[in-house]
Amino acid sequence: VTDADLHLLSRWMDGRATPAEAALAEGLVARDADAAAWVRRLREASDALRAAARRAPPEDLADRVLAAAVPAGGELAAFRRAARRYVAAAAVLLGLGLGGSVWIDRSGGPAAAATPAPGLFADPADARIEEMVLSDLDGAPARGPEPGGEHEGAPR
């Protein structure tokens, strides 16, 4: 039996031979004991291989697969959710920044910036009390407000 014969028999065993090739293969098996033995031995080997490979998967396979796959999948989903939140927050901040800069550009700056923020003690009497307290703490004599000078917490 030549390699070409065995190749033909291999195709024939798989049902891949044309009708003409199938007729050749059947004739070969009928008249050649070696060819017949080759086919028989391989068919037996095929049966044995199927029997040897046949086995049931573990009953808890699905649970094992899910345990191995899904926690990491959950982390991935959490990461994606967090990433979406960060992107949304960054978009809001960017929008506020752009909007603010356009507004400042058009109005010449926030109106509030022209008005000094009221100090802790807006009332002049309270401001004097504040100065006295601070002086006591520093151990220095109380000073009156300097003309034209800045006084912490007092309106200009």
Partner: protein, 177 residues
């Protein structure tokens, strides 16, 4: 639909895939590997990999064909990792698969026959083993085997012939009549 749900990382879809394909994937991996414990691990690894690599499934073949591909690659990776390890004894790994009531002598002959075939298969290069398992155990068509192994149909035919020739010669040398 199942693939779309897997892409959305739906755990229930993964459970359904395992239920539908675990038998076939286990047979393929069992045909490729000897070690019983390794078979279960590689089958599990196959489904976990499938869950994470589902984006590489484009639907141009059946989901089961793609799963076979993941399984064969996982088994090959395992073979590479354990190449230098000594093989276990045949008695350890061949589980008796017999019908109740079958005569004892036939069971023994069957078992010996399976052991010889497995030993002969073990001696084949992985590329021959893979093509034989997909054809003989799973009954895949040539074009399906070509998709699983990413080779041409002509190469499938050629490899099957060479694999069978080697398997036959080895079995003949082992005295399997």
């Amino acid at each position: 639909v199942l693939a779309a749900r897997l892409r959305a990382h739906d755990p229930e879809a993964l459970r359904e895939v395992v239920a539908a394909f675990s038998g076939r994937i286990t047979s393929v991996v069992s045909g490729l590997l000897r070690d019983r414990d390794a078979v279960d691990d590689v089958v599990q690894e196959t489904f976990v990999k499938a869950f994470y690599r589902i984006a590489s499934f484009h639907g141009d073949s059946g989901l089961y064909t793609w799963l076979y591909r993941v399984a064969v690659n996982a088994a090959k990776d395992h073979m590479k990792r354990t190449r230098r390890r000594p093989a276990s004894s045949l008695d350890e790994e061949v589980a008796p698969v017999v019908a109740p009531g079958e005569p004892a002598i036939e069971r023994l002959e069957d078992r010996e026959s399976r052991q010889r075939v497995r030993a002969a298969m073990e001696a084949l290069p992985p590329k021959f083993r893979a093509v034989l398992v997909l054809r003989e155990v799973e009954g895949l068509r040539y074009d399906e085997i070509a998709q699983v192994l990413a080779i041409s149909v002509g190469t499938v035919e050629s490899r099957l012939f060479r694999a069978r020739k080697r398997l036959h010669d080895r079995l003949a040398a082992m005295g399997m009549s």
